[in-house]
């Protein structure tokens, strides 16, 4: 017996174009869907960043999706994506694992679990974010529905990140929609030899914003969606008060000395140092002291 089933028994909603809860940025696009059906929290549709990529993803694409969606989720931005295998799924998982929320836009009825084993992930998404579709309840997936779905992804978000896209792929088309709708399009550069990246590299030459690290993405999101609401950044600020970090930054020292000077237990100090080092905030020098990178 499956533990989590799709669709869930509760939490279904329908939003009409004229409803006040309908996302305004989507209403402003050229062809907004007349009705949005789905499960979860309609509030989560209000703003977000789309992280999209090809279904036939390379490990590079998957890792990019995880990195950027994970950070966005941790920073409190809602991640919007499809529910296809590959980059989409990786982006949802990373955002949710980071404690963020995400929105999945389906190319079939919102109560249809497609791909078939995506039920547990959809349930996780709907628990904090939303799973939506413009199609009738129970509508089966078809090729055209996914193309139409892409314009919703583009319309829902003010910024869109393409991690990997071949020329003429669905992802490439979504980016086109986003440009038409006047959205910020960010692209992760890929190898010039990889057919999976020709589309994304083409977008770059057409003027998309190249994103090669978190800070570049962050600058765009702050501009479009406002400052991060919680997270790594908040945590980092909190760590400014971390006595271990502060001490190590001002004066590289050994754990034993730190423990004595700060009056902390050696185990506590060792754990803080390990955590900070594991996050790349400090590093171990060759002589055994710890200090800023």
């Amino acid at each position: 017996m499956r533990e989590i089933e799709w669709p869930p028994r509760t939490g279904a909603f329908e939003l009409r174009l004229e409803d006040p809860g309908y996302p305004p940025q989507l209403r402003a696009t050229a062809s907004p869907p007349k009705v949005l059906r789905g499960f979860g929290d309609p509030e989560s549709l209000m703003q977000g960043v789309a992280v999209i990529g090809a279904r036939k993803a390379t490990p590079y694409g998957i890792r990019c999706a995880q990195l950027f969606a994970g950070w966005a989720g941790a920073a409190g931005y809602t991640v919007v994506s499809g529910a296809a295998v590959g980059c989409d799924t990786a982006a949802h998982r990373a955002a949710l694992d980071a404690g963020g929320r995400s929105v999945a836009v389906l190319g079939c009825g919102a109560d249809v679990s497609y791909p078939r084993d995506s039920g547990p992930l959809l349930a996780r998404i709907a628990a904090s974010g939303a799973v939506i579709s413009e199609l009738e309840w129970g509508y089966p997936p078809a090729k055209w529905t996914f193309r139409a779905r892409n314009r919703i992804i583009a319309g829902l978000t003010k910024a869109l990140l393409v991690v990997e896209a071949g020329l003429g792929s669905g992802t490439f088309i979504t980016a086109d929609f986003a440009l038409d709708a006047g959205r910020e399009v960010m692209v992760v550069p890929g190898s010039i030899f990889a057919p999976e990246c020709t589309g994304s590299n083409r977008l770059l030459s057409q003027g998309a914003i190249p994103v090669s690290d978190i800070s570049e993405m962050r600058a765009v999101l702050e501009n479009q969606l406002g400052s991060p609401t919680r997270d790594s950044v908040v945590e980092m600020l909190a760590r400014g008060n971390d006595p271990v970090l502060a001490a190590v930054r001002t004066n590289p020292s050994r754990p034993d000395d730190l423990a004595r000077e700060l009056g902390l237990d050696i185990i506590e100090v060792a754990r803080r140092i390990g955590a900070l080092e594991g996050e790349g905030m400090i590093t171990r020098y060759r002589d055994g002291r710890y200090g800023a990178c």
């Binding site: 060792a270 080092e277 790349g280 020098y285």
Partner: protein, 495 residues
Amino acid sequence: MAQCTVQTATLVGVQAVPVEVQVDVGAGLPTFAIVGLPDLAVQEARERVRSSVRASGFELPNARIVVNLAPGPLRKHGTGFDLPIAIGLLVATGQLPRQLAEEFAAVGELALDGSIRAVPGMLAYALGARSMGLPLLGPAEATSAASQEGIDYRPLAHLSQIRHSIPGRCAQIVQPLRPAIDSEYDFADVVGHDLAKRALLIAAAGGHNALLIGPPGSGKTMLARRLPSILPPLDSEERLQTALVHSVAGIDEGAALSGLRPFRAPHHSASIAGLVGGGSPARPGEASLAHNGVLFLDEMPEFGPAALQALRQPLEDGCITLVRVDGRMVFPARFALIGSANPCPCGFYGDSRRRCSCSESIVDRYRGRIGGPLMDRIDLVVDVARIDPSLLLTPSTGAHSSALREQVLEARDRALARGLGPTACLTGTSLLRACGLDTAARRRLESAARLKSLSGRGVTRLLRVARTAADMEGRDRVGSEHISEMLGYRAKEET
């Protein structure tokens, strides 16, 4: 013409392999020959048997004596054949009852006056006799070693003792549950060095490998010397395994039998054979003598590179397989490696008071001596700095070894209660099951593994020490804080 066969054994590795001593006393010129691939020591048995038989009041027949050691192709060595040869000879000539040859196995060296002396490996012989299903006649001086559980040992002090009666079974020696610990070294005497103490505590609790790096005089050796004071006692199985190796090496096995974990500290001039075993006949090396205990290599980079690298296989497999012309021998060698090293040839790299005179390239070369593959097998790497003189004169506030030892015992008990075997040997799925990582711990590990470019083995070893740290706190699951702490002990990949 009279013949007689006596059961005995010869050592191959740490195993006693059964050997039959066939004695034939027949007509012909009076000679005494031993055949069946005997080594020089076995050949010399003739003179010892001759004198001791006479000295014990028996008669040596004026006849042609041939002794054959079967199976023929097996090389026999050592002086333990004296007693079975003498018994065979005396039974064949009717001076002793046949029962003595048929119902007993015998091992022992004879002195010219007829007294019986122990040979190395008496415990191995006793275990061999047990598996042959025979009581063992052996030297009285080896009684405490050989009369272990399930072994029927018949001690003999002198050959003349069997003239009139067969010696009775000696009482089994009951070993204490917890050995008395040599209290000469105590962790409470150590000032500072909290991180190193913590690392050694974890190493003792989980049987992990550790390396202490620091300038001369910083206290590396002093710390390592105190490790035995917090090691848990051997369990009954381990006692026998370790005592067996010690017995074969001719070292007093009493300590191991009483449950004391071995702590071996060979000098850095040790050869490969000295470290992992070898020679002819093959003897166990220091790594095997440290079986179930600690092998302490002081000044590790000073060891010969070949000898050092030979430790890689036992560190992974827990045993050493030697292949020689006369066969293949397996010596057990499951030990925790504790090493100490200077940070550079002059020793003062990173010292706060003395300048290091080594160039970076010399430091690199020096550290490279231990080598990446061996470093990868070391679970805990700690820097030990020289202590400020002002601290040296303050009394230590650290915990006593006895208290630390209780923590170690608790952690061991916890690890054993899991039923998955010792933590230091866990791998794959059983390791993951034992750790029960939550999402936070998993993410911490993943990102750190990427950042520090840990190998698969590195991750495995990290999880093992983290498991031990969690055991010491009585926790069922390994948390991200344990992972964090253990990351600090991981050797950073040098570029």
